[in-house]
C-alpha cells in the first residue's frame, strides 16, 4: 500500500512543485502590493487631517469585515460590470494585496504607535525633521513590533493563495484537485499537497523566527 502511494507521489511531485511555484509567485506579488498599500493606508491613519484618518479607518474596517474569497470574486467577476477585465493572475495578486493591505495597515500603525511619545518629543527637541524623526528614531524601534505579526500575515497569504483555484489558476491547490480526479485516490494527493504546504509553512516560521531573533539581539 505504501509503495502505491510513493509511486503516485513520485509521479505527481514535479507537477505539484510547479504549482507551488505559481502559489509562491502570487504570494510574493500580493505581499509586495500589500506592503506598499499598507504603508500608504497606515500613513493615512496617522495623518494630521481628520478626513484622511477617516479614509484610512474606513478602508481597514470594511476590508477586514469582508471574506478573502469575496474580495477575489469582486476583482475577478465583479469589476467586469464596470468594464475592467483583469486576467485571473492579476485579479489574484490585486485581491491578496487589497485584503492584506488592511492587515499591514494595522501592523504598521500598531508598531509606530508602540514607540513611546517621549522618543518623538526628544527628536523634535533635537530639531529633526518629520521624515528624519520617522526614519532615524521611530521606525528602528518599531521594527520588532512589526516583524512578528508580519511573518504571520505572510504565512496567511501563502495559505489564502490556494483560493485562486476558484478562478481557474493552476496553483498547487488546483493541480492537486485535478490529480484527485485523474487518480481516484483523493486522500493520497491531498496528503502530498499537505506535506508541501506544511514544509513551506514550517520553513517560513522557523527561518523568519531565527531572523527575528537576530534583529531582536541587535536592537534589544
Amino acid at each position: 500500500m505504501f509503495a502505491g502511494i510513493l509511486t503516485l507521489w513520485g509521479q505527481y511531485f514535479g507537477n505539484f512543485l510547479g504549482g507551488l511555484g505559481i502559489s509562491l509567485e502570487i504570494t510574493v506579488a500580493g505581499l509586495a502590493f500589500a506592503l506598499v498599500a499598507g504603508a500608504g493606508f497606515a500613513a493615512l491613519r496617522l495623518a494630521r487631517f481628520r478626513v484622511l484618518r477617516l479614509i484610512g479607518t474606513a478602508y481597514v474596517e470594511v476590508v477586514r469585515a469582508t471574506p478573502m474569497l469575496l474580495v477575489l470574486y469582486i476583482m475577478y467577476f465583479g469589476l467586469g460590470q464596470v468594464g475592467i477585465k483583469l486576467p485571473a493572475y492579476w485579479a489574484a495578486v490585486i485581491a491578496l494585496g487589497t485584503f492584506y493591505a488592511a492587515q499591514f495597515t494595522e501592523i504598521f500603525r500598531g508598531g509606530i504607535q508602540s514607540v513611546d511619545r517621549g522618543q518623538r518629543e526628544a527628536a523634535d527637541a533635537l530639531g529633526l525633521s518629520r521624515w528624519q524623526r520617522l526614519r532615524k528614531v521611530v521606525l528602528p524601534q518599531a521594527v520588532m513590533t512589526i516583524l512578528l505579526p508580519s511573518t504571520n500575515a505572510l504565512a496567511d497569504i501563502i495559505k489564502d493563495s490556494s483560493l485562486v483555484i476558484t478562478i481557474g489558476l493552476s496553483d498547487l491547490m488546483a493541480r492537486t484537485y485535478e490529480a484527485t480526479s485523474a487518480t481516484f485516490e483523493p486522500m493520497d494527493m491531498f496528503l502530498l499537497a499537505g506535506v508541501m504546504y506544511l514544509v513551506v509553512y514550517l520553513l517560513l516560521s522557523r527561518v523568519l523566527g531565527r531572523l527575528e531573533l537576530n534583529v531582536q539581539r541587535r536592537h534589544g
Partner: protein, 213 residues
Amino acid sequence: MNIGFDTSQMLHGAVLTVELAAGGVGVSLVLGALGGLARSRGPRWLRWLIVGYVELVRGLPQILQLFILYFGLTQFGINLSPFTAGFIWMCFYGTGYAIEIFRAGISGVHPGQLEASTALGLSRFQSFRRVVLPQAVARMVPPLTTFVILELKNTTLLYIIGVPEIMYHANLLASNSQPLNIYLIAVGFYLVMNMTLGRLGAYVEHKMSWAKS
C-alpha cells in the same frame, strides 16, 4: 426600492451563515476549552498531540482541510454531505484556534494570584472560579471577538463545496447580471454582521474591565 434583482435569497443565505458560524463557534469553544486546559495541564503525550493538531490547523490552507474532509475521505468510502463536511471543518478549524486562545488566557494569569487566593483561605475550586477564571476571561475577550469574526468569514469557503450560504446565493445572482452590485451587497451583509460582533466584543470587554489585572 427596486434594484432589479431579488436579494431575499441572500437573506436566507445570511441566516444559514449565522447558524453555521454560531454552531461552529459553540462546538469550538467547548472543545477548545478542554484542549486548552489539556495543553497547559495535561500529560506530556497529550500536550504534544495538541501542539501537532494546532500546527496542522494553522499550517494547512483552509480549502485543503475542507477538501480533505469532503473529497479526501471518499477514498475510504466515507461520503459526507456538503453541509456535514462543512460543519465538521468549521469545528475542526475553530477548535485549533480556540485551544490557543484558552491556553494563552490561562497562562496569562500570574501564578501569584492563585497562591494569594489560597492564602486567603479559598478552596482550589473557589480560587479558580472567583480569581483565575474572571481574569483569564477578561484577557480572552478581544481574541475571542476576532475568532468569532474569523469563523463567520470562514463560512464563505463552504460555498465552494455547495453549501447555500451568502456567497452561494450571491454567485447565483451575479451570474445573471450586475455582479459588482451583487458582491457589494454581500460585502454589506458581512459588514453589518461583523461590525455588530465587533461592537458586542467591545461592550463585553468594557463590562469585564473590572477583572483586568
